[in-house]
Symmetry: C2
Subunit: 343 residues, 2 copies
């Protein structure tokens, strides 16, 4: 019989199809294929620096000029920022409603100078530098008391609109906490107030004990398929030791290796699908208005990465009901990724 | 400057682009076009009754045989039910997680015997019958104490997988409350405990007073664009008078007329886009375990329909951040729908 499973982190229920059989081809066909883009048209490539806004930061040889070639990583402001950096938030009422000015930061982290190299092909040392750059930008943006949250996500595979296939992440600082993260923060707080334990630490223990949803593990991190995952082959990478903020992590070598190995497995087994990676991180607790609220956050929240291969489409059932249907049980997905073998 | 707006019902923030200009063609191009399907292949059409599971209910002349032609409306079980009707829920732990058996009801409400007739073309009398059928099925399914929620949604325009273009709605009874609805119930409860007023009644008053987001109104209902709508041209139809449960409503003639008029406007102005209509209704309060929890629900919750034209795609920003971006300010969308004129 199919199962209804509840995710203890988000509180969301998912229908998991328990008996569904797939051929590898059908499985791969679930996911959105990537769209390629020619190198000459890409402003993120080395030597095209003049086609981007002026860089905020770059990892480049000492003494080399900003916005010149010969860099490893660049951070630039977004071309068409949806939120603007300058101005006051001006929290106000509009009748019975709440409205803020669209203030925020929107940056692009260009992860590599070459066009056709992405996470599975990065060296561990380069990936460590990408992760360090993320930490640096989070620390810098959290100094701004207008920003409650810094969100980092990486979108791979789509070249529609203003997105490009060159390896990059988006960094977004917002005066509000995005609802998806807020739900997680609130559920984690509730779990802690009830059990005096971090829900994520409990998940690490449970998954390590059972082993059946683990994809990869070492002494610092686990990569696993969440129990109530609403999306097939969703994979989380989580530190074993309790830690609220990604920007304080010092095991980046271990994280980089696990991230690369996981993305290699997903690329090979699912035939290079589109995916989104989102960093779920603690909020900006220096924002004074919220300090009281976040007083237990160092105990109750635990950062992690969520990797989600993008599905081609959702059924009308899912769209209408808002209840996801996962056709591949997480135990099965973990087994496939772990063994790198189909059936 | 763009605005960040908070929806008082879901608690979700949306970025509303305030200065964006569209040509009518660009605007229409935001939405997913419909896919057509030939009549001969449709099992929902009159005379094809033998190709569907046996009907649960039909509006047909007294004395006519079940599953024969000459009906107005039919309700059948879904072909491939994702949730099964028979069995126990068996709420249990799986390690630290919660799991239920996939128990539920999944029904199809075939809204009309003819293939190419849908809401904008229905007569008011026929639409009243469709709405009455929904009420009847909600009442019947809420008698089953295993079901906490009965969800009704209508998906128009897509013919992928097992969905068909023939006018139909899906009726789904679940042993859990879908998260989207649960968030709304909890926020409505919180608002009430704070203000001693129903948040939806406050919205009706605010929108009636301001008029700028109203599309249609009469003495019983308003159709309007929600203030913090995350999706362009999202329209809600809500009763003016406080009412928790759709199944008790007695102004179906008025509702039917407003529903038809709204869908006609959307079809004409947005060039027949795909859409989803979802009934947001009070839960099954006869489920005894929840009775204490829902003791204020008759005061704090207020049923309504949400009509959402389906967008062609979401940006990588929205997918990664979970913060919707609405390029058409709700005031602008309301003006366009109200005046049935572009600029």
């Amino acid at each position: 019989m199919n199962e209804l499973r509840r995710d203890p982190v988000s509180g969301r229920w998912t229908i998991v199809l328990m008996g569904k059989k797939f051929r590898l081809e059908d499985l791969r066909n679930l996911f959105q294929p990537i769209t390629k883009q020619a190198v000459e048209s890409c402003p993120f490539c080395e030597n095209n620096e003049a086609r981007t806004p002026s860089e905020i930061y770059a990892l480049r040889p000492p003494g080399s000029r900003p916005n010149s070639p010969n860099w490893e990583i660049r951070v630039i402001p977004d071309y068409y920022p949806i939120l603007q950096t300058h101005g006051d938030i001006d929290n106000r009422a509009a009748g019975i409603y709440d409205v803020l000015n669209g203030i925020g930061a929107h940056e692009i982290l260009i992860e590599h100078p070459s066009h056709n190299v992405n996470l599975p092909e990065f060296s561990a040392a380069h990936t460590v530098d990408v992760l360090k750059t993320m930490q640096m930008r989070i620390i810098a943006l959290k100094k701004d008391p207008r920003f409650r949250y810094v969100l980092i996500h990486k979108n791979y595979g789509e070249a529609t609109g203003n997105t490009l296939r060159h390896a990059y992440s988006q960094i977004l600082a917002t005066p509000i906490t995005p609802r998806r993260i807020r739900d997680e923060l609130l559920n984690a707080k509730e779990y802690f107030s009830y059990k005096e334990r971090c829900v994520f630490c409990d998940i690490v223990d449970e998954e390590t004990l059972r082993q059946k949803r683990i994809v990869l593990e070492d002494q610092n991190f686990i990569a696993f398929e969440p129990f109530a995952s609403g999306r097939s082959f969703e994979t989380w990478i989580m530190p074993r030791r309790h830690e609220t903020f990604f920007e304080t992590n010092e095991n980046l070598q271990s994280l980089a290796e696990m991230l690369i190995a996981t993305m290699k497995k997903i690329k090979t087994l699912l035939d290079d699908p589109s995916y989104i990676i989102t960093l779920h991180n603690g909020p900006n607790i220096s924002v004074s208005v919220k300090r009281r609220y976040w007083k237990t956050i160092r105990k109750d929240y635990h950062w992690h990465f969520e990797i989600v291969p993008r599905l081609r489409s959702r059924s009308s059932f899912e769209l209408g009901s808002g209840i996801p249907i996962n056709p591949v049980a997480p135990e099965k997905a973990a087994q496939i990724l772990r063994e790198e073998e189909w059936e």
